[in-house]
Amino acid sequence: MEAVLAIAIGALAGSGVWLLLRPRTFQVIIGLTLISYAVNLFIFAVGGVRVGADPVLGAATDPSHYADPLPQALVLTAIVISFATTALFLVVLLTSRGFAGNDHVDGEDGTP
C-alpha cells in the first residue's frame, strides 16, 4: 500500500510541476490543483497508512486502535483552503486575461 501511495504522490506532483512550468494560465491552475492533491496525500501519509482503523472514538481505549487524527485535521482545512486559492487564481487569471488580452502567464506574448 505504501509503495502505491508513494508512487501516486510522485506522479501527481510530477504532472503538477510540469503543468506549473507551462506558459498558459489554465495549465498553471490545473497544475496547482494536482500539486495540492499530492501535498495533501503526503501530509495524510505522514500519519501512517491504515486500512480499517476506527476514525471515531469507540469503546477501545488504546490509541493505536484509531486512525491518526492530526494529519487528517491538517488536510481537511488544507482542502478547503486550496479551493479558495483555486478560486482566487481563477479570478486573477480572468482579470489578467481581460487586461492583457491573452492567457499567457506573463501577459505579453502577442498571440491571443
Binding site: 510522485g10 476514525p55 471515531v56 482542502i79 488580452g101
Partner: protein
C-alpha cells in the same frame, strides 16, 4: 480602584467612539460633532480627576494580564508627565473638534474625519498611558497609521496622498527602529515594564548594548518629532486639513517624540552619546527650522518650520543633560502646544475667509476680522516670546539653561549664540506671519470677501490665547503644580529649584531676550521686502532632505527591482517558477539523511488499490497533456484524479477527508467550468510547436520527473518511519474527556486548535472578498463575449433569436430542472445533518458549509442565474461576517467567564421528562465556521456565475484588446 477604572476609560472611550461614529453619525453632522467633542470632553474631565493621585510624584498603575507567559502585561500607567499629556491631548482635541465643525466644508458629513480623529486621539492617549514599552510601540505605530489617514484625508489631491505616504514611511520606519530599541532596552533591563526599565537606569547606561539601544530609540523619537534630517515630512504634511495640522503638529503626533525623550530621560540621558546626539540634533533642527520658517510664503509653511524649530528647541533642552533643561523642556512643550494650536487655527480662519494663505497676497485683515486679528496677535506674540505671554517664560528658562551649560567654552558659546539667533528668527517670522496677514493696508483682491469667522470657530482660538495670557501672567498659579508634578515624575529627587516668575531682575537671560527681540525686529523691518521676493530659503535652499528621501525611495522601488531583473534570469514567471522548483528540489535532496533500516511494511498491496491509482495517475498525466488545447477534457480528468484521492481517503480510514474532498471537488469543478467560458480559443493545428518550445517541454519534463521521483521516495521513506509517539496520542486520549466529542478530527478543529481554525476561516473570508473585489470591475476580453450566442444580444432581432433559443433550452431542461429542484431540500437537510453530527461522527462545519453551497449551484444550474437571483436574496458577505463574529464571540465568551480565549465548554443539562441533554459550546464555534465556509464559497461562485449575465456593452473605453480579430 477608581483611578485604574478612570485611566482604562480614558484609553478605551475614544476607540469606542471612533467605532460608533459611523453607526451613530451617518449623514448627521451635528450628531457626529457632538460625539467627537463629547468624547474628548469626557476624557478631559476624567483626566483632570486623576490629578490628586499623581500631584506629588506618585504613579498610578492598572495592569491586565496580556501574555503572562512572556512576562507581558497590558499596563496603564499615569504619572505627572503622562497626566500633562493627557490634558494636552484631550483638551486640544476637544478644541480642534469644535473648530473642525466650522472649518470643514458644510457639505461633508465628516463621519470619516471625526472617526479618524477619535482613533488618533485614542492612539496618542495609548502612547502616554503605556506602562509597557511594547504596548507603547504598538500605540506609537497606531498614531502613524491614523496620521497617514488624516494627512491624506483629502485623498483626491496628489499632494495630500504623497504627503501622507511620506509621513507614513518616515514615522513607521522610525517606529520599527523604536521597537528594536525597546527590545534591546527590555533585554538589558530584564523586563518590558516601564517602571522596571526606569529603575534599571544605571545598568542600562553601563551595558555594552546601551549605544545601539540609544540610537534606535532616538531614531524613533527624531522621525516622529521631525528632527533634522527627518524633518521633511512635516512641511509636506501641511496639505492636511488645517484642524488636523493644528492637532498633529501642536499637541500630539510630533510631541510623541518629545514624550519619549522625556520618558526615558532618567534611563538614557547623562552620557556623552546622549549629549552629542540629542543636543546636536536639537541644535541643528532649531536653527534650520527657524531659518527656513523665515523665508516661507505660505502661512502654514511658516508654522510648519516654526514647529520644527520649537521641537528642536525642546529636544536640545532634553539633550543638554541638566535637570533644569528637563523642566524647561516640559514647560515649553505645554506652551508650544497652546500657542501653536491657536496659531494654526487662526491661519485656518484666514484661509477659510479669504481663500488664500500666501503671505504675499494677504494684508490688512485686522480691518475686517478684528477679533481674529487680536487673538492671532496674542498667539503670535507668545510664539515670538514677548513678555507677559507663556512663550517668554519658557524662552527665559531656555536661555538660563543655555548659559548654565558646562561643556567647554566653545560649545557653550555656540549654544548661547544659536539660542539667541533662533529666538531672533522666531521674532522675525512671527512678525511676518501676523504683520503680513493682519496689518498694512486692506487688500481687495481676495478670492473671497473676508468676514469675521463664526463665533464658535473663534472660540477655540480664544480659549488657547487666554491660556497663553494666563500662563504668561500668573505662571506659578496656573501651571506651577502641573509642571512640578510632571518634572517630579521625570526627575524625582533630582528636581532642581526653579522660579516661575515674570520678573527675575536684570539678568543675563533677560539681556539675551532683549537682544533677540531687537535683532528680530530689525531683521523684519530691514529685510521684509527682500524676504517676500524670495522663493527659496537662502544658504540651505539647495539641500533638500525630501529629494534625498525620494531618491532613496526611487532606488528601492525602481532601480533595485530593475537590477534584480537584470541579475535574475529574466522577468518571466515561468523562469522564476523553474528556479523555485529546482531550488526546492535541490534543497530537498541535500536534506536527505540515511535512515535506519525499517521493518518491511507488513501490509500487502491490495491489487484493487493499485488499479485505482493506475487510473488516478493516468488521469493526472492526461490532464497534464490536455490542459493546453482541451481544457474541458483536462478539467474532467483532474476531477477524476480528485475522485481517486477521495476514494483513497475512504480506503485509508479517513471518512472526514473523503466527504470534504468530494464536495470540494465538485464545487471546484463547477468553479473552473464557469471560468472556462472567458478563456481564448486555442486550436492545436494553428499553433505548431517551435523548437524552443519543444526544448522547454523536455527540460521541464526532466525537472518534473525529478521532483516526482524525489517526492515519491520521500513519501515512501516517511511512511516507513512513522513517529512513534506524536501529539496525536494526546488528542486521541483527550478528545472525549476534554472536548466532549468522539470525532477527534472535528474536536481538534473546533476545540483544541480552534485558534488555528479561526485563522483559516479568516483567510477564507479574505480570499472570498478578494475574489469579489477583483470581479467587481471585471472586464472580459471582447472576443469572449462575442464568441457565443450572446454576440447577437443587443440588436432587437438578435434579442428575439436569443430569447427563442433560451426558451428551447428551457423546454429541454424542464424535467431535469424539476428533479433538481426536488433534490435541493434534501441536500440542505443533509448539510444540516452533517453539521449536527460533526462532533461525534464524520462531518462538521467545513463540509456542511460547502454542501449548502452545492444547493445554490444546483439551483443556478437548474433554473438559471436570473431566476435564482430574482427569487433568492443571497447575501453571502453577511454570512461571512456573521460567521466570523460568531466564532470570535464564542471565543470571547470564554474570556468573559475567566478562561483563555476560545475555551470550549461541554456537559449535560438534566431536563425533567427529556432526560440528559448534552451541550457543547464548540458547536457554536463550528456554526461560525459553517457560516464562513458557506458564505465564502457561495460568494465566489455567485459572483462568477453572475458574470454570465454580462452583455456586450459598446463602451467608449472598451478593453485594450478590442481591436483583436474575432477568429
Amino acid at each position: 480602584m477608581p483611578y485604574g477604572l478612570i485611566s482604562t476609560a480614558i484609553l478605551f472611550l475614544p476607540f469606542a467612539a471612533a467605532l460608533a461614529t459611523p453607526l451613530i453619525g451617518r449623514g448627521n453632522r451635528r450628531r457626529t460633532t457632538w460625539l467627537m467633542t463629547g468624547t474628548a470632553g469626557v476624557c478631559l474631565v476624567l483626566s483632570s480627576l486623576l490629578f490628586p493621585g499623581i500631584a506629588d510624584g506618585e504613579v498610578l498603575r492598572q495592569s491586565f494580564a496580556w501574555a503572562p507567559g512572556l512576562g507581558l502585561d497590558f499596563t496603564l500607567r499615569v504619572d505627572g508627565l503622562t497626566w500633562l499629556f493627557l490634558i494636552l491631548v484631550t483638551g486640544i482635541g476637544l478644541l480642534v473638534g469644535i473648530y473642525a465643525n466650522y472649518y470643514m466644508p458644510r457639505e461633508y458629513p465628516l463621519v470619516r474625519f471625526y472617526s479618524l480623529l477619535l482613533g488618533f486621539m485614542g492612539a496618542m492617549l495609548g502612547i502616554v498611558l503605556s506602562g509597557n514599552v511594547i504596548q507603547l510601540v504598538f500605540f506609537w505605530e497606531l498614531t502613524s497609521l491614523f496620521s497617514f489617514l488624516l494627512i491624506g484625508y483629502w485623498h483626491h489631491g496628489k499632494s495630500a496622498r504623497d504627503a501622507a505616504r511620506t509621513a507614513l514611511i518616515v514615522t513607521v520606519t522610525g517606529g520599527l527602529c523604536l521597537l528594536a530599541g525597546v527590545l534591546v532596552l527590555g533585554h538589558i533591563a530584564g523586563s518590558y515594564d516601564v517602571d522596571a526599565i526606569l529603575a534599571a537606569g544605571g545598568r542600562i547606561r553601563a551595558s555594552p548594548l546601551y549605544l545601539p539601544a540609544l540610537v534606535l530609540i532616538l531614531l524613533g523619537a527624531f522621525t516622529k518629532s521631525a528632527q533634522v534630517p527627518f524633518h521633511f515630512w512635516l512641511p509636506q504634511a501641511m496639505s492636511a486639513p488645517t484642524p488636523v495640522s493644528a492637532y498633529l503638529h501642536s499637541a500630539t503626533m510630533v510631541k510623541a517624540g518629545v514624550f519619549l525623550l522625556l520618558r526615558f530621560w532618567p534611563v538614557l540621558a547623562g552620557t556623552e552619546a546622549w549629549f552629542w546626539i540629542v543636543g546636536g540634533v536639537g541644535l541643528a533642527t532649531m536653527l534650520v527650522g527657524a531659518w527656513s520658517a523665515t523665508f516661507q510664503q505660505d502661512m502654514k509653511g511658516v508654522l510648519a518650520y516654526s514647529t520644527i524649530s520649537h521641537l528642536g528647541l525642546i529636544t536640545m533642552l532634553a539633550g543638554l543633560g541638566s535637570t533644569l533643561g528637563v523642566v524647561a523642556a516640559i514647560f515649553h512643550t505645554v506652551n508650544h502646544a497652546t500657542f501653536k494650536a491657536s496659531m494654526f487655527m487662526a491661519v485656518g480662519a484666514v484661509d477659510h475667509e479669504t481663500g488664500t494663505r500666501d503671505l504675499r497676497r494677504l494684508g490688512g485683515l485686522r480691518h475686517v476680522m478684528p477679533i481674529t486679528a487680536t487673538l492671532a496677535v496674542i498667539a503670535g506674540a507668545a510664539m515670538a516670546g514677548v513678555p507677559l505671554l507663556n512663550g517668554f517664560l519658557s524662552k527665559e528658562m531656555f536661555f538660563a539653561v543655555a548659559l548654565g551649560a558646562n561643556h567647554g567654552l566653545v560649545l557653550d558659546a555656540l549654544t548661547v549664540l544659536v539660542a539667541v539667533a533662533a529666538a531672533a528668527l522666531g521674532v522675525t517670522y512671527s512678525l511676518r506671519l501676523v504683520g503680513g496677514a493682519f496689518f498694512g493696508p486692506l487688500r481687495h483682491d481676495y478670492p473671497r470677501e473676508p468676514h469675521e469667522p463664526p463665533r464658535w470657530m473663534r472660540f477655540p482660538i480664544g480659549i488657547l490665547a487666554l491660556a497663553c495670557l494666563a500662563v504668561g501672567i500668573f505662571p506659578a498659579w496656573v501651571v506651577g503644580p502641573l509642571l512640578r508634578a510632571a518634572a517630579l515624575s521625570v526627575l524625582g529627587a533630582q528636581l532642581p529649584a526653579y522660579d516661575l516668575a515674570i520678573w527675575h531682575g536684570l539678568t543675563l537671560p533677560l539681556l539675551m531676550s532683549v537682544i533677540a527681540f531687537v535683532a528680530g525686529c530689525v531683521l523684519y523691518i530691514a529685510g521684509r521686502r527682500r524676504i517676500a521676493a524670495r522663493d527659496s530659503t537662502p544658504l540651505i535652499g539647495w539641500t533638500s532632505a525630501l529629494h534625498g528621501f525620494e531618491r532613496v525611495l526611487g532606488f528601492l522601488t525602481t532601480t533595485l527591482p530593475e537590477l534584480q531583473a537584470k541579475i535574475f534570469p529574466g522577468r518571466k514567471l515561468q523562469v522564476q517558477l523553474l528556479v523555485v522548483v529546482v531550488l526546492a528540489g535541490i534543497f530537498g535532496f541535500l536534506a536527505v539523511r540515511p535512515l535506519p533500516a525499517a521493518a518491511a511494511p507488513g501490509m500487502h498491496v491490495d491489487p484493487a488499490f493499485a488499479l485505482l491509482w493506475l487510473l488516478g495517475i493516468a488521469c493526472a498525466i492526461g490532464a497534464a497533456t490536455q490542459a493546453k488545447f482541451q481544457r474541458m477534457a483536462a478539467l474532467i480528468l483532474t476531477a477524476g484524479t480528485g475522485l481517486v484521492v477521495c476514494i483513497t481517503f475512504v480506503w485509508l480510514s479517513a471518512p472526514d477527508l473523503a466527504v470534504t474532498q468530494l464536495v470540494v471537488e465538485s464545487i471546484t469543478t463547477v468553479l473552473l467550468l464557469l471560468g472556462l467560458r472567458w478563456l481564448p480559443k486555442r486550436i492545436r493545428e494553428l499553433a505548431p510547436l517551435s523548437s524552443t518550445a519543444r526544448y522547454h517541454r523536455v527540460r521541464d519534463a526532466v525537472v518534473a520527473i525529478g521532483i516526482g521521483v524525489g517526492l515519491a521516495s520521500l513519501a515512501y521513506a516517511v511512511m516507513n518511519h512513522l513517529v512513534a509517539d506524536s501529539a496525536s496520542r494526546f488528542y486521541l486520549e483527550q478528545a472525549l474527556p476534554g472536548g466532549g466529542g468522539r470525532n477527534v478530527v472535528n474536536v481538534i478543529l473546533v476545540d483544541f486548535r480552534a485558534l488555528d481554525t479561526l485563522g483559516e476561516i479568516s483567510v477564507l473570508s479574505i480570499v472570498a472578498l478578494a475574489v469579489f473585489a477583483l470581479l467587481w470591475r471585471f472586464r472580459p476580453a471582447a472576443e469572449s463575449l462575442g464568441s457565443t450566442r450572446r454576440r447577437e444580444i443587443g440588436s432587437v432581432q438578435g434579442e428575439a433569436r436569443a430569447d427563442r433559443a433560451r426558451r428551447a433550452w428551457a423546454d429541454q431542461m424542464m424535467l431535469p430542472g424539476f428533479l433538481i429542484l426536488l433534490v435541493v431540500p434534501v441536500i440542505t437537510l443533509f448539510a444540516l445533518h452533517l453539521f449536527l453530527r460533526g462532533h461525534d461522527l464524520p462531518g462538521g462545519g467545513f463540509v456542511a458549509g460547502i454542501t449548502v453551497t452545492m444547493t445554490l449551484i444546483v439551483l443556478y444550474m437548474a433554473a438559471g442565474a436570473r431566476w435564482v437571483e430574482a427569487r433568492l436574496k443571497v447575501a453571502p458577505v453577511r454570512w461571512i461576517g456573521a460567521g466570523l463574529l460568531l466564532a470570535i464571540a464564542t471565543g470571547l465568551a470564554a474570556v468573559v467567564l475567566g478562561d483563555p480565549f476560545l475555551t470550549a465548554y461541554h456537559g449535560h443539562w438534566s431536563v425533567p421528562v427529556l432526560g440528559d441533554i448534552p451541550y457543547n459550546s464548540a458547536l457554536l464555534f463550528d456554526l461560525g465556521v459553517f457560516a464562513v465556509v458557506s458564505g465564502a464559497s457561495a460568494l465566489m461562485l455567485v459572483v462568477l456565475a453572475h458574470q454570465s449575465l454580462r452583455r456586450v456593452v459598446p463602451a467608449p473605453d472598451a478593453p485594450r484588446d478590442n481591436g483583436e480579430a474575432e477568429s
